[in-house]
Structure formats: structure tokens, C-alpha cells
């Protein structure tokens, strides 16, 4: 293990370096703004650690290459931005169906369509409700800082391996482009990575029955059984893997709910609001799936109002409403198209509401 060190890095590079330290030695990707630096970082970095980098012909190919590489049981990842992630959905559905561990990074930009290249949070539905076809789930993390991005990247590989599930780091161009001091953990010893020899495609070496990795069964009863088994696993994940942060919520009458970059911005809004005598706090979901419904719902007892802020037209607000379950009003403020709400305008909206 190398000694932990604190260094100044750019967001995209922080995620790339964290992946390498987590034991990821395979990256397949296709350039798209605002995350091409991550692709470029992996192109430089992976050969230094005997890893493999490949620029594919399209994001469709990328996600299918990820499927192939993940089926060998090795740690593999890709990164992209919104239009690219849309194209990856084919592979994501197959990977989820075949229960393969791997990590996706979506540095979200303004959409729909080609949109723009500014930071946004408008891929929340696609990320958490299933962007591809079929009954499946991804574990989705929304980091608010580079330090958290590093930690969640490493965690992403671990939970992917633990549950054989694709994990998505959902972030945006703001985080991707900023520089912050980050403390990296040491390098994971590749020999201590989880053993997947009971299912991975490694060649039988004439010593065992063939392994067959697929997402399908043409017999509906058997397919239903596969889906039920997967959903049992999802239930365990919901129980075990929820992550969230609570900020100044002890006496809060207004609960601001926001994730990722926006979660960070609303913390400063709450600080200013408290100076003005408004008892506000922040509930910041870190795992967007599994979403911390019960944990957020508990605040319906003491809070008067919930206020969701997003860089979208309102997507996570639906999950907040589910958590609040009609017990208290849920207000929403958001900007879309790549416009980032300023602390000032969120504060103004908050003061209007209270």
C-alpha cells in the first residue's frame, strides 16, 4: 500500500485515478464533452499500470465491450456524457440482465437531444428508473465533491463486485471540470480482488463445466424466476446500501433536498437562511438508487415544508414526494438546459416559501 497523499486534481482525473487505485485495469470509451479528459486520462494512465485502454467506434460498442470484459470477471469501467449514455442503454440492460459487475460514469450535460455541454441533472430518470428495457436496477451514486467522487468510485467497484450489478456514478460537468485537493487511498492489491471463478468466462481449462453468461431465457416462467431472483438481490441492496447526508436537520422546519453539485450549493443557501432566522437544513441523497425514502420520510414529523432543488425540470422531486407521501407540502425549484441555479436565486425562492 502506498501512503495516502493529498493532491490538487481535476474532477475527471480524480475519478480516473480512483478507478485505477480500485483495481480497474480495463477502460473502453468514446469521447464526449464534458468528460473527454477522463477518457484521455485513462488512455495515458492505464498503460502505466499494464492496463488496457480502447477507444471504441461508438458508445453502443463501448457498452457491449464492457459486457464482454465484465463477463471475464475483471474490473472494468467507462465514462460518458448524456447523449453517449443514451446510446449505452442497450448494453446496460444486457449487463444488468446478465448480472455483471462494472462501473459507468455519466457526466451529465444539458439535454434533451444534443442539448449543450453545460452541467445538468436531467438524466436522473434515465439513471434511476431504468434507461434501457426490462425490469432492472443500477446502483447510482451522486457525489458532491471530488473527495466524495473518489470514495464513491472505489465503493462503486466494490459493491458492483459484491452484488454483481452495474454501478453508475452520476455527476455533472461542474464536478468534472473543477479542481480540488483530494486524498487518494493506496492501490488495491489485484490479488485480493473478489474471486469470480464460479461464474466468469475464463475458459474451462478442461477442468470444469462450461460457464454461460446470458441475460435471457425464452421460457417465460424461467425468465420470471431470473427476474425474481434479481429483485430479491435488489431488496437486499435497498436494505444495505443506502447513503445520504444530513446537514443542520435537527431543528429544521424546511428540509431542502438536493443531490450532487446542487446538494453542495444548497448547503451554503441553508447557512445564509439560518443567519436570517429560517430554520432550514439539507437532506442530500448520495445513493440515488437505492433512494433513502424512509430516512427522508422521517422528517415529515417535525418539518413543515420540503423544498427540492435540481438542475432539471424536476425529476428527483418525484422520489421526494414518494418519501413525503403527501404528509407535508413539497416545493420545487430548478433550472434546466445547463443553467446552474445560484445560491442567491435558491435563497430568494426559499424566502418566498417561508
Amino acid at each position: 500500500m502506498e501512503k495516502a497523499e493529498k493532491v490538487m486534481v481535476k474532477g475527471t482525473e480524480a475519478i480516473g485515478e480512483a478507478a485505477v487505485r480500485a483495481g480497474c485495469r480495463l477502460y473502453f470509451g468514446y469521447p464526449i464533452t464534458p468528460q473527454s479528459e477522463l477518457t484521455e486520462y485513462m488512455a495515458r494512465r492505464l498503460p502505466e499500470v499494464n492496463g488496457t485502454f480502447l477507444q471504441a467506434e461508438s458508445e453502443v460498442a463501448v457498452s457491449n465491450m464492457i459486457y464482454g470484459a465484465a463477463s471475464t470477471g475483471k474490473r472494468v469501467m467507462t465514462s460518458t456524457s448524456s447523449p453517449g449514455f443514451s446510446l449505452m442503454q442497450e448494453g446496460v440492460s444486457y449487463i444488468a440482465g446478465a448480472e455483471l459487475p462494472c462501473v459507468f460514469v455519466n457526466v451529465v450535460r444539458g439535454g434533451p437531444g444534443l442539448g449543450d455541454i453545460q452541467p445538468a441533472q436531467s438524466d436522473y430518470f434515465q439513471a434511476t428508473k431504468g434507461g434501457g428495457h426490462g425490469d432492472y436496477k443500477l446502483i447510482v451514486y451522486g457525489p458532491e465533491s471530488l473527495q466524495e467522487a473518489v470514495e464513491l468510485t472505489i465503493r462503486a467497484f466494490d459493491v458492483a463486485d459484491k452484488y454483481r450489478i452495474p454501478v453508475l456514478l452520476l455527476t455533472d460537468g461542474l464536478l468534472g471540470q473543477m479542481m480540488e485537493p483530494v486524498k487518494f487511498p493506496g492501490f488495491k492489491n489485484l490479488n485480493t480482488l473478489p474471486d469470480h471463478s464460479d461464474w466468469a468466462l475464463t475458459g474451462t481449462k478442461m477442468q470444469r463445466e462450461p460457464h454461460r453468461v446470458t441475460s435471457f431465457d425464452l421460457d417465460p416462467v424461467k425468465l420470471e424466476k431470473m427476474n425474481i431472483q434479481r429483485h430479491e438481490k435488489y431488496k437486499t441492496i435497498v436494505k444495505e446500501e443506502k447513503l445520504f447526508e444530513e446537514y443542520k436537520l435537527n431543528d429544521a422546519e424546511v428540509v431542502l433536498v438536493a443531490y450532487g453539485t446542487m446538494g453542495r450549493i444548497v448547503k451554503s443557501v441553508v447557512d445564509t437562511a439560518r443567519e436570517k432566522g429560517v430554520k432550514a437544513g439539507v437532506f442530500r441523497p448520495i445513493s440515488l438508487w437505492p433512494f433513502p425514502y424512509e430516512e427522508l420520510g422521517r422528517y415529515t414529523e417535525n418539518a413543515k415544508l420540503f423544498f427540492t432543488v435540481e438542475m432539471s425540470f424536476g425529476q428527483m422531486v418525484e422520489d421526494v414526494r414518494l418519501a413525503v407521501n403527501g404528509k407535508k407540502p413539497v416545493e420545487f425549484y430548478g433550472r434546466t438546459g445547463g443553467v446552474v441555479p445560484t445560491p442567491g436565486e435558491v435563497l430568494a425562492k426559499l424566502m418566498e416559501l417561508v
Partner: protein, 251 residues
């Protein structure tokens, strides 16, 4: 070689019965691939990628590790496997709908990268599994369920010549078009398949064998008529032969 020895099932085939229609070439080609894997003694390190199409269950017919790719994406999946495990032997098995329509980008780029994988390409000029729709390889004038008036060049365009397109790509190490309608063809096809695997085993580049194949069921012909139809029509449109050979002489 004694008769019984020659015709015993290849070790690389599983016990599972083929699901193919009588007179379909898929079965013959499966056996040839299995014989080649046996002879090269690579069964224990081979990983297969089956396609979407009639051969979607191919990964169960071979006694090797395997998976099924999304429609057309087998070359990308195989690329992922091979890059993750360069010591394994990876092959894809794909129909013409799979490889020449939805998967055109994937096959061209895998071939062009000289990906160390082997592709067996079954060209039966039609979509078999979905019930006989037009394929990119459907002949001009040929009737299918989605070209009920016969394929017209001004509406549906021309049959695509995959081997002729791929032969221009520098990453290709072995490329041949063949058929399995006569015993001589079968022997030749097996030799080609072996060479396509050698292209991978000897780290020379990408190998592909295009096999002109029958689909009696969707052509609406008997197995014997199908063989004749293939000889009379498909061979004219899709000339047989070796298009690229950087492998050289092998046993």
C-alpha cells in the same frame, strides 16, 4: 482413419441437440468449428459469443465457456473479452442480419482493429429466426416477407458483399467465402475455419469465414432444392474464394 473414429461427435460439441431445421447449414458449420477446436486443442481456453438469430443457442451447443451478445454486437462483446483475457481464444458466430445490418459498425471496426478474434459468418440471404424478412444480403428479385415484390435495387438497394468490403481493411489476416453444399466444400470450409483461428492464435490479426448457407424453411424449398438454389443463385452474387490470407500454409 476408421469410419467410427471419423464420425464420432467432436468433444467440443455439447450433448444438447441442435434446434435447427432439416437441411439448414448452421448444424454442419457448428460441427466443423467443433472439429477445428478439437484439432487445435484449444477447447479449454475458448470462449464463444453467440448472436441473436437462429443460432442464439449456439453457446449451449459448444462445450466451451460462452455468452450471447445483443443483436449485432458480438464483435464488440468479443473485443471486450479478448482485451480482458488475451490468452483465451474468442470467436463469434453471426448471421447476416446480425453481422451485415444492425452490427455493420461493430464488425468493420473489429476487423479494422485487427482484433484477435475469429468470426464465422453465416450468409443465408434472409432473416431466419424472425420468419423470413429481407436481409442486407437478400438477392435482387428475391421475395421475402418484407420484400414481397422481390428485392428491387431502386427501393431496397443491392445485396451487400461483406467479404469484399472487409478485404480492404488492413487488420484482416484471414478472410474467405465458402459454402457447405458438397463434401469437397465442407472439407475446404473446415480448412478456412482453421486458418481463421490460426490468424488469432498466431497473433496475426482478425479472421472471418463467410459461409453461404441454406434456409429451407424461409426460402420455402426442400433441403435438396435449397442446395441447388444456393449453387445456382447465391454463388453468382457472392463469389467464393480466399480474399485475404496472411496466415500462409498450415497443416
Amino acid at each position: 482413419m476408421a469410419y467410427a473414429e471419423r464420425f464420432k461427435a467432436p468433444t467440443s460439441l455439447s450433448e444438447k441437440e441442435f434446434t435447427y431445421c432439416p437441411g439448414c447449414s448452421h448444424g454442419i458449420v457448428h460441427r466443423l468449428i467443433a472439429e477445428v477446436i478439437d484439432e487445435l486443442e484449444i477447447q479449454g481456453k475458448t470462449i464463444m459469443v453467440a448472436p441473436v438469430g437462429c443460432s442464439v443457442f449456439a453457446y449451449e451447443f459448444f462445450d466451451v465457456d460462452g455468452t450471447v451478445a445483443a443483436h449485432g454486437r458480438a464483435p464488440a462483446v468479443a473485443t471486450g473479452i479478448k482485451r480482458a483475457s488475451p490468452d483465451n481464444v474468442v470467436f463469434t458466430y453471426q448471421g447476416d442480419g446480425d453481422l451485415a445490418a444492425i452490427g455493420t459498425a461493430e464488425i468493420i471496426h473489429a476487423a479494422n482493429r485487427g482484433e484477435r478474434i475469429t468470426t464465422i459468418f453465416i450468409n443465408n440471404a434472409i432473416y431466419g429466426m424472425t420468419g423470413g424478412q429481407m436481409a442486407p444480403t437478400t438477392l435482387l428479385g428475391m421475395k421475402t416477407t418484407t420484400s414481397p415484390y422481390g428485392r428491387r435495387e431502386n427501393i431496397e438497394g443491392y445485396p451487400i458483399h461483406v467479404s469484399e468490403v472487409l478485404k480492404e481493411l488492413s487488420g484482416v489476416a484471414f478472410l474467405a467465402r465458402t459454402k457447405v453444399t458438397t463434401p469437397q466444400d465442407v472439407i475446404k470450409t473446415k480448412k478456412y475455419i482453421k486458418k481463421a483461428f490460426y490468424a488469432q492464435l498466431n497473433n496475426i490479426g482478425f479472421g472471418l469465414v463467410e459461409v453461404l448457407s441454406t434456409c429451407p424453411t424461409n426460402w420455402g424449398l426442400t433441403p435438396i432444392e435449397s442446395m441447388k438454389w444456393l449453387e445456382d443463385n447465391m454463388v453468382k452474387e457472392f463469389p467464393l474464394g480466399v480474399y485475404v490470407d496472411k496466415v500462409g500454409d498450415v497443416r
